[in-house]
Each structure stands twice: as structure tokens, then as C-alpha cells.
Amino acid sequence: MNITVLNEREHTTQDVTLTGKTLIDLLKQLKINPEVVIVVRNNEVITEDEILNDNDTIELLSVVSGG
């Protein structure tokens, strides 16, 4: 399935072909530690076990900020 990923920290938008089904599969594929992001879909915060849908847009908000 195709997922659009907006990355707050990197200021990037990336189209990803996800081989798994869930958010944790996506994070593993992107090599992102779930500890350092909060994930939002359609203005709702979702947890790692959430099943993603084809053409979902996912926003990765960075937990780490400041100095």
C-alpha cells in the first residue's frame, strides 16, 4: 500500500510503499525509533499497532526538540 509521510523534523514529504500493515511496520521500514515520534493521521494521534490504509497520509511529529 502507498503511504504519504510528512516528517516535521526533516521538513520532508515522502511517498512510501509499505510492505507491512501497521504503523510499527512503517516505522521499522523507515528506521525510525517510535520513542522519538508522535504520529498523527487525519488530526488524530495513533498508536503503533494501528492498521494503516492505502493512500493514508501520516504526520511524524518530533518528540525531541530544544537544545
Binding site: N33, E35, I38, E44, E48, V64, G66, G67
Partner: protein
């Protein structure tokens, strides 16, 4: 995943299960208020200086300290916000805009002091000059001056406590950094209340977010719709802390509860560290130049100021 307490969707997975938005907000606030009560961080007659930057931690601690005062019928006039503008281009100016808006909405008095006005140069210009003589990294320079200005201006405004937004991740990082650098003599000064004992030279610092993970703080600020832009200090990646932070986040992912365990272990040892430090503390003097606390004739902030003046 559903919330542990109701059928709504969870917004976070904690060690004991998931929590929905409302139950998470309630859990988070109760944890902060419990920390304040357990460690007696705030007394009724305290005048509180909230150390703010406009980031998620400081907006959250400002909001919840104010809420705590209101809940306990303590006048909110006992509280003001203090921000330090270090002079880091394309960084601090953004968070200060958010902070000014937030304080205005929350009806909190805000004072901003800058490195430029107080020390003669912004950090971006001061750091290369100091580094030339001392090899100090920007975070070392910034840390000395921030602590100096916070203490000085909090005292000037009559504060009896400085409230900071340090969270569980910050504290776990410092504990590990101190162990890695053999700075164990600093251990006694850490914990939810800073310092070995009350001192006329230093205003005590208290940390209501001590048991809140950084991820929880960001989630709280997001769910409360606090306007927090993602900003990262351009110097942060140069610091030792950055490496420790990454290491702990990797450990936490593999072994849940690592950061909490570091804090719990440290708190077991803290009374011993404080006791040991009491006997070893050097006499605190007054700086001959500025009158602030110093362990030498001239404080570190003034020494750096002299280096800048020499150029």
C-alpha cells in the same frame, strides 16, 4: 488499541496499557501534581519564577504550575515567567514569539533578558571568541550564562523558587552523562529539587515534570493545542548530551522502562550523595565583579565576559 479505562482509541501506549486523550490528560496532570506534593516543590508563600523558552516543556510546566496554584487557592500573582534570549539565529526568536502569545493568553507576566544586553554579545558571536581560548563548546558557554542570568533575574524579581521544565528524559541523560564523565560530585545537586541545602546565594530549582517522559510532554502540549513549533538548537548536535540521548532512546525501544529505572535507581542513591556533598561543599563566595555566587574570586560568567571584551 483501546484505552485501559474506556472503549475509546488510545493515543499512547504506556507500560501498563493504552490511554485515550481524556484519560491521558488526566493521568499526566495527576502525575505532575503528585510530584509537586510528594517533594513539596511549592509552598503557599512561594514566589515562583517559571524558567521558560517557549518550547513544549516550559509551556507545559507554566500551564500546570498555574493550574496547581488555582486548584489550591494560591494567587496566580505568585508566579511570573522569565525567558533568556541567548541570541541563536533562526532558533530562539521563533520560540519567543510562541511564548509571548502563550503568556498573554494565560495572563502571566513575562520578562525576557538577553545575552546581548547582559553580556555584550549574542551566543553566536560570543562562542567563537571564548572557544578560541578555552575550547569550550557552545552548550558549555550557554549553560553558564543561562544559569547565571536565571538566578540573577529571578532573585531581582523576588522569586523564592525557580520552576523548570526538566523532564524524565533530561534527568536520565544528565545522570548517565555525569557517570560517563565521572562527575559524581554533581549528583547531590540533582533530583526534583536542586541543591544540597537552601542557600542565600542560589534560588532553589524545582522540577514538576521530573517523572514525565519527553514523549508524554510533547503529547500533552499537542493535545492541549499549545502552539509549539518544532525547533532544534543548531548547536545541540555538537553536545555530548545528544549522543547520550540517542543511546537512551535506543535502549528504551529495546528495553521499555530503562529511563524510569535510571531515575528510580538514582533517587535511591540521592540521599547518600547529598549527605556526602554536604561535607565536601566548597565555600560559596560573591563574585568581585558582579556580586553573584562564585567558587572563585570572579565567577565563570564574568570570566567569559572579560574574554569577549578582549576579543
Amino acid at each position: 488499541m483501546n484505552c485501559l479505562h474506556c472503549s475509546k482509541n488510545a493515543v499512547i501506549t504506556l507500560q501498563h496499557g493504552g490511554l485515550c486523550k481524556n484519560h491521558f490528560l488526566s493521568y499526566f496532570e495527576q502525575k505532575v501534581f503528585h510530584t509537586i506534593n510528594k517533594y513539596q516543590l511549592i509552598q503557599r508563600n512561594d514566589k515562583l519564577c517559571i524558567a521558560t523558552s517557549g518550547g513544549k516543556d516550559s509551556l507545559t510546566v507554566l500551564h500546570l504550575t498555574k493550574k496547581y496554584l488555582e486548584k489550591n487557592n494560591i494567587p496566580a500573582t505568585n508566579l511570573f515567567a522569565l525567558a533568556i534570549d541567548e541570541g541563536i539565529a533562526d532558533y530562539r526568536e521563533h520560540t519567543l514569539i510562541d511564548l509571548q502569545k502563550f503568556c498573554s493568553e494565560q495572563n502571566v507576566q513575562l520578562k525576557i533578558v538577553s545575552f546581548q544586553d547582559e553580556l555584550g554579545k549574542p551566543l553566536d558571536e560570543a562562542y567563537p571568541i571564548i572557544n578560541k581560548d578555552t575550547q569550550k563548546k557552545p552548550c558549555n558557554v550557554c549553560g553558564v550564562w543561562r544559569r547565571y542570568l536565571l538566578n540573577k533575574h529571578a532573585a531581582k524579581m523576588g522569586a523564592t523558587k525557580v520552576v523548570t521544565g526538566h523532564n524524565l528524559d533530561d534527568e536520565a541523560q544528565v545522570i548517565i552523562m555525569n557517570i560517563f564523565k565521572a562527575n559524581t560530585k554533581l549528583a547531590g545537586r540533582m533530583g526534583p529539587i536542586s541543591g544540597i541545602e537552601e542557600s542565600e546565594h542560589f534560588i532553589q530549582r524545582v522540577k514538576p515534570l521530573y517523572f514525565c517522559a519527553e514523549k508524554e510532554v510533547r503529547l500533552y502540549a499537542l493535545l492541549k493545542n499549545f502552539q509549539v513549533q518544532f525547533t532544534e538548537c543548531p548547536y545541540a548536535k555538537e553536545g555530548f548530551r545528544h549522543h547520550v540521548q540517542e543511546m537512551l532512546n535506543n535502549f528504551e525501544q529495546q528495553y521499555h522502562g530503562t529511563k524510569q529505572s535510571i531515575i528510580n535507581s538514582f533517587l535511591e542513591l540521592l540521599p547518600l550523595a547529598k549527605e556526602k556533598e554536604k561535607g565536601l561543599s566548597e565555600e560559596i563566595k560573591r563574585c568581585q565583579h558582579c556580586g553573584e555566587a562564585a567558587n572563585k574570586e570572579v565567577c565563570n560568567a564574568c570570566l567569559m565576559k572579560e574574554m569577549i571584551a578582549r576579543g
